[in-house]
């Protein structure tokens, strides 16, 4: 049954093949695109349950034993991330049915969508540093095409920034992996972790560690490397932005947590302090810049950055509770962030614009939409009993327990400003009257939202509520994952078979 781990990689490739063969039937391509994302979600749930029950799953691809071949590994952390990738993949693919125009769909939107998921899934389950680089590239190439798909002038402008900065990040990643290989002679993560533990001169890998920090920091949009994200995320269609916002930055955070818990923090050095400082600054700067924006997508884009800060801060605490909090927060943020973008897309479909100054009165005309917005928005702001409250609660408790009062205080303050931003969208978009001078924009808009847009948003909203109400259930998974991350011997033994 170890071959189970190949399915998150095989399914998207199969989706691509089917989509290429079905050149003439757009409906079939749509149906198969959605079907394969659903299949990935089901497989991810199976893997999550199996890892929770039986421990770490390992697949030696091509029967080559570690550290010689490429190993696929799913521990709890990977399995949780795989599950959220599946959830977002499925919901966004349904959402895209109702939103994407025919021209973009004809240019193989669903093929690229599945290839992007292939890269994300691969990055979550690989046990090899260079293989992780390859999955990052798969993900990036698909995202490059998705962000330019449609070829509007604004999109191309955003894409130039996005592509350039991500190429720089990939080069740094490659350089870091090269240095690491030169020093340690292996790139298998488990083997590397073991050798670093037993190597007295292992502090020499600090140069690679710093390069990894910058490379993943760029992908995760951490201070001071976040500037590319708000410059590009608001340009593609909102279904693409929702997918990117939910998953791509979190792959960077995943890689950061994986590398620094497994390799670098146990070696000592300034890493924990560095994470606390960058985490704090990321939270603050993201939330302040968001407060000054008036385009829904831009507000939400800046909030992605501020939320990433919480996860980095959790890693900086480096206690089981801190890491578990960071993982829980990632899950919560993936769901809530994607959902706010989805609702933003619905608003723009009804009003023809994302500009808050020309929107208003939605609470009166579409009360259910207001409800759909308020759930993920309040979840992001951290209002109980939604998921964000418990995410912040766990992180704050971890912060106080480990006596990091200052950065924890910042995180509480940032939560307040987040609430302010969300209330701003609420006031401007839903509460105030529709501005009269904006009537000509409304004429472009449509009257109805449509089931395909509402359904995924409802699913994610229910999930946000569920993660809050059944917090013990979800936190149990995160705590197991955190304990595995802080005790890497189980991971090492599972991969190297000792």
């Amino acid at each position: 049954m170890e071959n189970l781990l190949m399915l998150p990689l095989v399914l998207p490739v199969l989706a691509a093949i089917v989509s290429l063969f079905a050149k003439n039937s757009l409906n079939f391509r749509k149906a198969s695109g959605v079907f394969f994302t659903l299949a990935q979600l089901v497989v991810a749930v199976v893997i999550l349950v199996k890892v929770y029950r039986d421990g770490i799953l390992v697949l030696h691809v091509g029967s080559w034993p570690a550290p010689f071949g490429i190993t696929l590994v799913a521990d709890m952390f990977s399995a949780i991330m795989l599950f959220f990738a599946g959830l977002i993949g499925f919901t966004v693919s349904v959402y895209a049915l109702g939103l994407m125009d025919e021209r973009r769909l004809k240019f193989h939107f669903y093929l690229l969508f599945n290839i992007l998921l292939l890269g994300v899934n691969g990055a979550f389950i690989t046990g090899d540093v260079f293989n992780l680089y390859v999955w990052f590239e798969v993900m990036l190439i698909a995202s490059f095409v998705l962000i330019t798909l449609g070829g509007e002038r604004k999109q191309l402008e955003g894409a130039v920034k996005y592509v350039t900065i991500n190429m720089v990040s990939s080069m740094l990643f490659l350089a870091a992996a090269g240095l690491l290989y030169g020093k340690m002679g292996t790139l298998n993560m488990a083997d590397l972790a073991m050798k670093l533990q037993n190597d007295p001169s292992s502090n020499l890998v600090a140069s690679s560690a710093m390069l990894f920090f910058i490379a993943f920091g760029i992908k995760a949009a951490v201070f001071p490397f976040f500037f590319w994200l708000p410059a590009s995320y608001h340009t593609p269609p909102v279904a693409v932005t929702a997918l990117f916002a939910g998953l791509l930055t979190k792959v960077g955070v995943y890689a950061m947590i994986r590398f620094f818990t497994l390799f670098f923090i146990p070696l000592g050095g300034i890493w924990k302090e560095l994470f606390l400082i960058t985490g704090g600054l990321t939270m603050l700067i993201g939330v302040f810049t968001a407060a000054s924006q008036y385009d829904i997508r831009r507000i939400l884009s800046f909030h992605i950055i501020s939320q990433i800060g919480y996860m980095i801060m959790g890693l900086g605490f480096f206690t089981p509770l801190g890491i578990a909090g960071a993982i829980y927060y990632m899950g919560h943020n993936i769901v809530a962030k994607t959902n706010t973008f989805m609702v933003g897309g619905m608003v723009s479909k009804l009003k023809g614009t994302f500009e808050l100054k020309s929107i208003g009165g939605l609470y009166k005309t579409k009360p259910y939409l207001a409800l759909l917005f308020i759930i993920p928005a309040f979840a992001l702001a951290g209002v109980p009993p939604l998921s964000g409250f418990f995410g912040k609660f766990i992180l704050v408790k971890a912060g106080f327990d480990s006596h990091h009062f200052f950065v924890t205080g910042i995180s509480l303050f940032v939560g307040l400003i987040t609430l302010f931003s969300m209330i701003k969208i609420w006031n401007e978009g839903f509460w105030k009257k529709q501005p009269e001078e904006a009537d000509e924009v409304v004429n472009y808009a449509e009257k109805k939202v449509g089931f395909a847009l509402v359904f995924p948003s409802v699913v994610l909203a229910l999930f946000s509520i569920g993660m809050g109400v059944a917090v013990g259930f979800f936190f149990d998974f995160c705590m197991t994952a955190a304990q595995q991350l802080l005790e890497p011997s189980a991971y090492i033994n599972a991969v190297l078979g000792k």
């Binding site: 170890e2 071959n3 781990l5 190949m6 095989v10 490739v13 199969l14 691509a16 093949i17 290429l20 063969f21 050149k23 697949l59 030696h60 691809v61 091509g62 029967s63």
Partner: protein, 141 residues
Amino acid sequence: MSNPYSNIFRMAATKLRPLLLILSLVVLYRGHQQPGGGFIGGLMAASAYILYALAFTSAEARKKLPLSTSALLASGLAVILVSALLSVFSGEPFMTGMWTTVHLPFGQELHLGTPVLFDLGVYLAVTGVLLTIMFDIIEIE
């Protein structure tokens, strides 16, 4: 429409196409033990058709292809997937290499296995991608 190219170029493109295709298959097969392989073989196969498209038109080159360019790409991916999955169906880990020897009539042996099949998939996919890109560029002019 008058022909911008010489008849010599056209004749050469016509005669070189089968030669290049055969050579590309040779390179593909020897690639497992020696320099060569699916990627370089695919490039050579694509060059045969690109040459033809330059001498005549891309539409005529498309006609000479057994499949459309995107179907070539798709079948390449499908062959790769099948080669990776064959070992799964016989209970081995994903992508494990499986080999068999075919005896040819004149006492020669052909060493075939899933890695060769994988390479064939790469060959088809590279041909498909390259021709998709090149035909599009030729047709923009």
